[in-house]
Structures are given as C-alpha cells and as structure tokens.
C-alpha cells in the first residue's frame, strides 16, 4: 500500500521483460512500434526522476537540465568531434551526472529542500536553455541537426525496431537500478532521507553525500535519455531539450504511475503515451492530452497519492491485520 523497500519478485521482472520483447513482433506496425519506443523512452527518463524524486524524495522541476545536457553533449561530440554516436551514451551519462552533481552540491549545501529545491532546479534548467539558445557553439536557437545515415554502427536504424530494442535495454537497466535501490543499503538510506532527514542523520546517515550521489545517478540516466532522443529524432534545439515540458513529463509519468516504485514510471509512461497517441489520432485539438495529464496529476495527488500502482497493490492485498 505504500512505497516500501519490498523487492519486486523476479518472476514479475521476467514477465514484463518478455512482454516487452514480444511487443514489436506482435504489433509490428510503424505506429505501434513508435508507441512502444515513446512509452519506453518516457519510462526511462521518468525512472530517472523517480530515483531522485520518488525514492529520495527530492522533487525536482528541472530534470530536463540533465536531459538537455546529455542531448547536446552527445550530439556535439558526434557532429563537431566526429566521435562514434554510440560513445554518446557514456558521454551523455557523464555530462548529465556532472550537471546533476553541481546542482546538487550547490543546492544541498545551501540547505534547500522541498519547494525551494524544486524551483531552483527549474531556474538552473532555464539558465541552460538560455545559454544554449544564445551560443553559436550549440547552434543557438536553430538547434542541431544530425545527418540521417541509417546504420547500426551509426546509432541510427532504418527500421524503428532497432531503436525499440535500444530503448528497451536502457529502460530495463533503469528498472534494474530501481530494483537494486529497493534491495540495497543505499536505497534504504534514501528512503530514510525522504521520510525524515533529521532521523536519518541521527542514525548516522550522511544526508548531504547520499543526496548528491542520487542526483549524480539520476542525472546520468536523464543524460542518456537525451542522447537517445537526439538519435531518434535527429534534431535537438534549446526549447525541446531544455524546455520545461520535458521536466513536467518526467515528473508526471512517475507521480501518476507511482513515485518510489519500480514500475511506476512504466505504468505512467504507458498511460501518457496512450493518451498522447489516442488524442492525436482522434482529434486535431492541440493541448488535449496535456489537459488530461494535468487533471490526472491533480486527481492522483488528491485520491491516489501513491500513484496508479496502488490500484494493482490493493487488489492483491495480503491478509494483513491492517484496515
């Protein structure tokens, strides 16, 4: 019923993985594979937010900062320095982690928590957006275009299914990370920090250091998401990869699915990707899907604060003595 540290059974992990691997063969149409890619993509970057926001309780409104830095880092390495696009993954992870670390050290040293922390991350992301928008090295407002040259070694795939399996691997890694957090000492300490920092300190946890560590991790994952995004869409610009929309989507996906759970972001991402695709197919109305997301967020916070995952857990309630 709550976001505890209970490990998820391996059987469930294997089942989900099997389903995900079968998906593009069961639904091979371009539309469906794209749906799958986007769902897994949002699950991946959502998990990044989930790790710092859901597990450690540090709500951030500026996660797009790490995402955008990763997107630009890998793209710049590729376009200006001729590096292999696959190296973009570790490069973006490092870039995202670096920015995550800097923001974390500055913010947590200053003792920022709760809404102050959320707002300052928003401001940091804004700074990055403005800088990349103004500097020619990053292409300014025009952004950067990656030349299309589909080949596996070039981290571009003629068939979407190639991208699908890449993002599936990344998403699986992020799930494994979340699962590890559920089972590890680090994860338990993060949960303690989330619930009550003073108590955590009193029990010997170096709250500052652990919070920085989690932001490093979260930043790395968001960064990799940025790299993938760049390769999938072959175009990035400051508004798209540093705009506040992505931050909100990462947050929405986790909160709606279930913050602090392993599969919350996936559940949330599936829902959001479905809403997005369905509204786009049914109507031409701009903004409808976001209206639905916004309403969902309010409803979830009010009535299902542990996210949609709670619905699954309630049905499978063990015979405990609780009301």
């Amino acid at each position: 019923m709550t976001s505890t540290l209970k490990p998820v059974p391996w059987a469930l992990h294997l089942a989900v993985l099997a389903l995900a691997m079968a998906f593009p063969f069961v639904f091979p149409s371009s539309f469906m594979v794209n749906f799958g890619v986007m769902a897994l993509f949002y699950a991946f970057i959502g998990q990044s937010w989930n790790i710092s926001g859901g597990f450690a309780g540090q709500l951030s409104f500026g996660h797009v900062a790490f995402f955008g830095v990763g997107a630009y880092a890998s793209t710049i390495m590729q376009l200006r320095f001729g590096w292999s696009p696959w190296l973009g993954l570790p490069v973006s992870a490092l870039a995202g982690a670096l920015v995550g670390g800097v923001i974390a050290v500055l913010s947590f040293r200053a003792g920022l928590k709760g809404s102050y922390f959320a707002l300052i991350t928003l401001a940091f992301a804004e700074v990055l957006r403005i800088v990349t928008n103004s500097v020619s090295f990053t292409g300014g407002g025009l952004g950067m275009l990656i030349p299309m040259k589909a080949s596996a070694t070039n981290f571009q795939f003629a068939e979407r299914i190639g991208f699908y399996f890449v993002i599936l691997m990344l998403a699986a890694l992020s799930v494994a990370l979340a699962e590890w957090l559920r089972r590890s000492r680090f994860g338990a300490q993060l949960a303690a920090i989330r619930e009550n920092e003073d108590s955590a300190k009193a029990l010997g946890i170096n709250v500052f250091r652990e919070k920085v560590k989690v932001m490093l991790l979260s930043g790395a994952i968001s960064g990799m998401g940025g790299c993938f995004f760049a390769q999938y869409f072959l175009y990035i610009d400051p508004l798209v990869v540093f705009g506040v929309d992505k931050s909100v989507e990462m947050l929405l996906v986790s909160m709606i699915g279930g913050a602090g759970t392993v599969y919350g972001p996936l559940v949330g991402a599936l829902l959001l990707a479905s809403i997005s695709d369905i509204t786009r197919v049914l109507t031409q109305v701009q903004g409808l899907s976001l209206v639905l997301y916004g309403s969902l967020l309010v409803v979830i916070i009010a009535y299902l604060p542990n996210g949609l995952i709670d619905l699954f857990k309630r049905r499978r309630k063990p015979t405990g003595g609780q009301a």
Binding site: T4, A188, N196, S199, G204, Q322
Partner: protein
C-alpha cells in the same frame, strides 16, 4: 567518563536556554537528566548530539572532542539520540525502519534485516514487523524510536522522554527494556518526567532548571535536595512543606 559536557551554553535570541551546563556520564550507567518543563533538557540533548550549534562549551565523547561535528558523524561515533516527538519513517514498515538503523552496522541486507528482527524482538515489537510505521500507536512509535536507535549498535543512547504518553504497564515494560539495554553494554542518558521510572532506573541524576544544572547525585540525594524540590514546586515550598508537617505534628 564516556561523555563529558563542559560549560555548555546555548542562547536563542535573548534567551539562555542552556546556561553553562556541565555533566558527565560514566560508561555502563543509566544516567537521567530531569527538570521542570522548559528547563532546556531537549535543547541540551540537541546540542550534545550535534543538532544545534553551541554558543560556548565542549562535548567530549569517548575521549574525543566532538563539539561542532555534524550529526551523522557523532552518530557514527556511537552516540545516537531519539526524539521527544517521534519521527518515524512513516511510509516504511517497522522492520524497514529498524533496518535503517541496522544498516549503520551492517552493509549487507540479509545481516541488517536479521539484526533488525533481533532488535525488534528485544523491544517486544516482533509481532508488528510488517506494519507501516504510520499506523503505530504512540507507544508503538516510542518503542520504534528506541529500537531504531538501538539497531545502530550505539555506545551511548540518548533517550528523550521515551515514556511520555505511555500507560503504566507500558512504562513497566520500557523500564525493563532499558535495563536490559544497559546490561547488554550500552550506556544510557535519558530525559524523563516519569519520576518513579527515573528513581528505579538511574544510577545517577542531573537536574536542570532554567538552563542551569542545579544538582546532581544519586536518586536519594537528588530527591532530598532542597533546590531540586523548589525547582519543581516553587520557591518556599520546602518551608511550606515543613510548616505543614510541623502543623500536623504539633
């Protein structure tokens, strides 16, 4: 002396919450810190454990000057405190709560969880391991607070009013548990208002009033100390008591 506090002063704005307080705790003892409400006991605890910066004074623990060290380092050195207003990890279960403490000593999950279970048994919470901490009663939370701190394998436990809000039978249970804790080698410094518990448990008592240490000694000594009685009952209360006793005898 396991813990030596010397000349500790804490000032909030114009108020001297703790005024040049000194106290010592010998290893293996149960020592109590008592005093009327508002005397500054919790503030003193907070200063000793590193939650508040001192305006003056020193704290030495196990021969080491820990004044001004961050809370978590003091905790790792072996001094762990509980909170007067309990602060459980609400969304975690009892077992998980205690495990956080256990993880201080064991980095392996299996070992930490086993240790947490053992601690839970020691304080009588073994039957509620799977319960979310948010669903506990006051007594349960107090006990959880104690268990969590105990799970870190501390050398010195600072217990802040761990019996407040408990009914008489719960208090008796806690008294037994605290004794057991001491017997297992942990030194205890406790703030308490439940007098009979203080009397029966403590080897040594320090009395704090208006931020100052006004007396210390064995329970018998402290109880018959005029200054102590007056601190609780008001100036002139001992004469009034004597007068009343004299009047009835006369």
């Amino acid at each position: 002396m396991m813990l030596q506090v010397t000349g500790l002063t804490k000032i909030f704005g114009g108020l001297r919450a703790v005024d040049n307080a000194s106290l010592g705790v010998d290893e293996g003892r149960i020592v109590a810190l008592i005093g009327p409400n508002g005397a500054g006991k919790t503030t003193l605890f907070a200063c000793i454990a590193g939650f508040l910066p001192l305006n003056a004074g020193r704290v030495e623990f196990l021969g080491r000057d820990i004044t001004g060290l961050p809370v978590h380092e003091i905790a790792r050195a072996g001094m762990v405190r509980t909170f007067q207003i309990t602060q459980p990890f609400a969304k975690l279960t009892v077992h998980e709560n205690i495990a956080v403490g256990a993880y201080q000593k064991f980095s392996n999950r299996a070992q930490a969880w086993a240790h947490a279970q053992a601690i839970a048994e020691q304080v009588g919470m073994a039957h509620m391991l799977a319960q979310p901490a948010s669903e506990l009663t006051v007594a349960g939370r107090k006990r959880l607070e104690l268990a969590r701190a105990l799970a870190t394998s501390p050398r010195l436990l600072l217990l802040d009013e761990v019996m407040a809000g408990l009914n008489p039978s719960e208090i008796l249970e806690i008294i037994a548990i605290i004794r057991q804790i001491r017997d297992s080698g942990v030194t205890v410094l406790l703030i308490e208002h439940v007098m009979h518990a203080v009397m029966s448990l403590s080897d040594h008592i320090h009395v704090l009033s208006y931020g100052k240490i006004i007396a210390e000694g064995s329970p018998q000594q402290v109880v018959s100390n005029q200054a102590v009685v007056e601190a609780y009952l008001g100036r002139g209360s001992t004469e009034a008591a004597d007068a009343a006793a004299g009047a009835t005898h006369a």
